[in-house]
Amino acid sequence: MSVRLAVETIAARAASRLSRLVGTGGGTTLPGKLLWKLDPGAIDALAARLPQGAAVVSATNGKTTTTAMAAEILEPTWRLAWNRSGANLVSGVASTLLAERGAELGLLEVDEGALPEVIRRVRPRALLLGNLFRDQLDRYGELELIVERWRAATAALPPDAVLVVNGDDPQVGDLARGRNGAIAFGIDDPQHARPTLQHAADSRYCVRCGKPYEFAAAYVGHLGDYRCPHCGHERPELQVRATEIELDGIEAASFTLETPAGSIRVRLPLPGLYNVYNALGAAALAQTLGTPLEEIRAGLERFGAAFGRFERIAVGDKGLLILLIKNPAGANEVVHTLLEGGAPTLLLVALNDAIADGNDVSWIWDVEFEPLLGRTERLIASGDRAAELGVRAVYGGLDEEALEVQPDIERALDRGLELTPPGGELVVLPTYTAMLALQQIVTERGLVKPYWERT
């Protein structure tokens, strides 16, 4: 380590302790921001110190969960520098590399927009790209702009790095075309295909010629087995696949994981096809890092969901089930999963519009809430844009009598718990900052530990 880097590192670590002491939460990105300001090149040096190099994960949906699954698989083998708090901008990556001094392998979840910068600096040995859906258009601009950034990111990958892509996503799969040693993963189980593409599906037009794709199977949003009847552009050959999928309501998903190293049956303790995609990505990534199939299976089966994405919390004799919603594709999967498990009649939905949620709340109209609204006897709309959410629900067919608007999240939570019968579970669908607010409330009430103290 250079003298300069050493001095900056000490200053930044001190900032982390300070931020935790003053209670601004986990000290997640402050030291990284400081280091980034002092010397952006320091991140390159920190990453270069990792003896096993680094693996990077990005996607619109599921990147936190996928990275956490990969961590569960890899942790028995290596000491990881893993940004588990979900701080996934350049500053978050810097903070993680700073904090984990003795780490052997970097495991970094990275924001879609920050990917080219992180790839250029960290020079990972493996890059996993999961999916691209419309998300926070107010922050990122158009989906095409993200595709361009990802193209720049893959071009900046070291030549011997392994690119792992979701072959079921036309835009993402295409990024691996012509790259040596690239791995494509996907689902091969037409039994679980949806009858039609969801409303406002992305990437339904051929990346090459612009004509509509034909989908032999669509699994999650536009993810599936596509082919352009006009120019023949089609899903690449899959090296890592999930077959013979069995969905067990909101409890679990089982599937056969087929890889070049053999096949194995996995029971994932998380629901839904979208989590099968997350598991496939984590498995493919771990395999490129040399993990044996049995260890991959064991890691996936041990997995407990990532912070707030799917979380069950006991509150006395009642329970909370928290499922993050943040964009149409992800929220549609949450709705689908709830329907599979027997839809709840009481629901708390919390919509905030901070930068991390998206200032633009129009996406709630692209979510297929309707099947859920048809069975809801009581909907508590909460968050800064509670009224907007209420309008959405009523225009979507909810009886106005069934709606309660309570912008304050703590009061909404208490109201929801009051309406939940003993032994029952309150389903809460928060956007990102609403989820953070919920986390804080349940932490302050002593129901769970702060996330930075969890093991």
Binding site: G141, R204, N359, W363
Partner: protein, 250 residues
Amino acid sequence: MKIRVGHLYPDYLNIYADRGNIAVFDRRARLRGHELEVTAISVGDDVRPGEHDLLYIGGGQDREQALIAPDLAAKGPAIKEAAAAGAALLAVCGGYQLLGRGYVDRHGTSLPGVGLFPHETVAGDRRMIGDVLLECELEPGELRTLAGFENHAGRTRLDPGAEPLGRVVAGFGNDGESGYEGCRVVRSIGTYLHGPLLPRNPWLADWLLAQALGHATGAEPHELEPLPDRLEAEAHAISAQRARDRGGRF
């Protein structure tokens, strides 16, 4: 009364939850005892003037807009004929751009337009993104506000003498400098505002429905009976406040 809506390119132009606008037309028409019949008009389908009381076109990304632009330009004369015969029209974002004379995207590619609205659009380097608040006067003496969200690279310049939809109270508007947003030609409204636009601005939905009913019956449009709109008003107030607090400006 049946109100016939032609929804242009719902499979291509749907980036900002355009179906929310359709849902608002539908519910508000039903609550007044009318029926809304929505037909999709996509690539290769004809627009037959007189068959629709209300045309709707939403927004897409540059890629989708480029895919439908030639088809839309071919439909241009029929759309203009329908509007001239009194059909109401709402165009949002990308649809608003393409109903002008044309659009030059960020790669410098020119897309032909319909020429219904007297304007031209050229993509700029910086996107104009944020909450917006407008003040409108569609009927003389009736000042109303519209609250929404904008996200566009295009700078739309109205011809001299063209009627904007409203004055920008907060946000960028057509080009970030003129102080105006959108465009109106008789019963046709074009705007960058999504959010979607109508759920939190139900008065505009009612105005468009009244125009559409006028076309359907052949009578002069008259105001629809008001609805309570308590939640809608709350949603509008928060959105308007957002625009005042954090609306975009250069």
